[in-house]
């Protein structure tokens, strides 16, 4: 067993990069583990390539990479132990971490199980798109808008001549639309899945939102304007969305303006906001709370990101979605507090640095509160049918889940036992969030009482061969 490092950080997006480099700058030994091959997380995906790209091509995407250049430069200049290609599959309560390391080996790639230990841990595992189940959402050709954006950043892929339809709501959908427009792409239609009346509900918070974070708000209105100018046909208040096709998506059916519509479509981007990735925080048994407005569980944290475990902090969207700008701030804050807790930074110094960060965060959160209300999650019942699969892996339908609840399965883990919902390769990442909402709707019980799917190691499937080849010290 090797000596524990002072701090382990999981995730090299904005929060993780800030946390790791800040901690290292204060003299801590830092291990930074990230699943991707390059730093940046999702929002700054392939940061070094995108920032270096031609401004007439993919460089146009770099406008949403504010802060990335400095963050990645800080990483490259730091002496911290950065391990890309590291898929963390277990973290024990005493902070021993196990991961599958992918590394170049001659002409090929080799995989090996690695283990390390840390005195303190910062989780910066980010967010994922909120799953929005509707009939046909498992067909090839239906993708998250975040996935389409990733394809753009990673492979330079934008939708081709067959035409793209976007369905959903939220800032990411608008940003993607603007990004492809800058590169000569377009969406043929946009299906706005927000129920009517959302702007009226959110409107009273608008002045506070502008006061709190004018930059984000101005950027947002700019994106709305660009949507209006994009030439895409906009259908509002869309319900009963269905994707249809034989082996892959061929057309869409939906209701809008009191009548049924059909559209030919081979590529559909779906988006209903993002929610924290809580696999590791759940595995560690940290306390979580249901956020009613955001319709998801979030780890319970103090204003500095410290979780219910005194040695574990959560930074960035994994601790509640607040966006990339605040993720950097939250990473810095968590690192200062971890350094203080380890006795490496006097409390007076850490407080002096933390106070202005907390104040800026509180101010900018007013814009987030407005966005939370404006883009409140699409009600599941607007699109679900009895035979819609909730669980993509196992094909478990809404009706099967409801039947299990009727038969006495009062929580997600019982439903899993009854139906196999959550037992497939994704281990409940894609069904868990909808399952919790569905059970709450069926039983009338708050999700804090029904709970979430239990998460066990390995967090991702590991081959038996990897274990057999593991170092003897394990």
């Amino acid at each position: 067993m090797t000596e524990p490092v002072d701090l382990a950080v999981i995730g090299a997006g904005p929060a993780g990069l800030a946390a790791a480099t800040t901690a290292a700058a204060h003299g801590l030994t830092v291990l930074l583990l990230d699943e991707q091959a390059e730093p940046g997380g999702q929002v700054w995906r392939q940061a070094e390539r995108i920032l270096g790209a031609d401004s007439s091509g993919l460089g146009k995407v770099a406008a949403s990479y504010g802060g990335a250049r400095e963050a990645v430069a800080a990483l490259r200049q730091s002496a911290l132990d950065y391990r890309p290609g590291a898929t963390v599959f277990d973290v024990s309560p005493d902070l021993r971490l196990s991961w599958l390391q992918r590394e170049a080996d001659g002409g090929g790639t080799r995989h090996a199980i690695r283990e390390g230990a840390a005195k303190a841990l910062i989780l910066a595992t980010g967010a994922m798109e909120r799953p929005l189940p509707f009939p046909g959402w498992t067909l090839p050709g239906v993708m998250g808008v975040g996935a389409l954006q990733t394809a753009l950043k990673v492979g330079g892929l934008r939708p081709g001549s067959e035409g793209l339809v976007l369905a959903g709501q939220g800032p990411l959908l608008l940003l993607y639309l603007a990004q492809i427009a800058a590169l000569g792409g377009r969406a043929a239609a946009i299906l706005d899945l927000a129920p009517p009346g959302r702007m009226t509900a959110a409107f009273p918070g608008l002045p506070q939102a502008f006061f709190g974070d004018p930059r984000t708000m101005i950027r947002g209105f700019g994106l709305l304007l660009r949507r209006a100018l994009s030439g895409a046909r906009i259908y509002r208040g869309v319900t009963r969305l269905a994707a249809l096709g034989d082996e892959s998506l061929e057309h869409l059916s939906f209701e809008s303006g009191g009548r049924r519509h059909e559209l030919p479509c081979s590529l559909l981007g779906v988006h209903d906001g993002v929610i924290p990735s809580t696999q590791v925080s759940r595995l560690l048994g940290l306390e979580h709370r249901w956020h009613d407005e955001r319709q998801c569980f979030e780890p319970l944290c103090d204003p500095d990101g410290r979780s219910s475990d005194a040695w574990v902090w959560i930074a960035g969207d994994g601790g509640g979605v607040e966006g990339a700008d605040l993720a950097t701030l939250r990473g810095t804050l968590a690192a200062l507090k971890a350094a203080e807790h380890l006795g490496r930074l006097p409390t007076a110094e850490s407080e002096k640095a933390a106070a202005p960060l907390r104040a800026r965060r509180a101010r900018q959160q007013r814009a987030r509160a407005f966005l939370d209300r404006l883009y409140a999650p699409v009600p599941l019942e607007n699109h679900l049918t009895d035979d819609t699969p909730i669980c993509r892996c196992e094909g478990v339908t809404t009706a099967a889940v409801r039947q299990a609840v009727d038969q006495g399965a009062g929580g997600p883990n019982r439903v899993k036992t009854f139906t196999r919902c959550g037992m497939g390769p994704c281990q409940g990442r894609f069904c868990g969030p909808s399952l919790v909402r569905l059970i709450a709707a069926e039983t009338g019980q708050p999700p804090d009482e029904t709970g979430a799917l239990r998460i066990r190691p390995p967090l991702k499937p590991i081959l038996l061969g990897d274990y057999l080849e593991a170092e003897p010290e394990l």
Binding site: Q36, G107, M128, M143, A151
Partner: protein
């Protein structure tokens, strides 16, 4: 009829997909290389046998599992392409017997 078109430029990397050569772009994932080449599905669903949608591209949905350089159930969206890499699509996810 093209599903996706490439923008920008990059260094070419040659991989082998189901026995045929495919030109990919350095730094991209196996999943985007397959999408660019017109593959709509890389795997079949373990329960239904239907073609799996590749939904998230960030390692969460497991809809893109392929055999990569002989390693079964690899997440194509998290695997960077490499010169000479051998990719087999269309496996029955979850069988693990290959």
């Amino acid at each position: 009829m093209t599903w996706f078109v490439r923008t920008g430029s990059g260094e070419a990397v040659r991989v082998i997909v189901d026995g045929a050569p495919l030109e990919a772009r350095a730094g991209e994932s196996v999943a985007t290389a397959l999408l660019a080449a017109g593959h709509r599905s890389f795997a079949r669903n373990p329960a239904s046998g239907a073609p799996n949608g590749t939904y998230c591209l960030i390692g969460q949905c497991f809809g893109c599992l392929c055999t990569i350089d002989g390693r079964p159930q690899s997440q194509a969206c998290l695997t960077p392409v490499a010169e000479g890499m051998v990719v087999e699509t269309g496996e029955q996810v979850g069988t693990g017997d290959d």
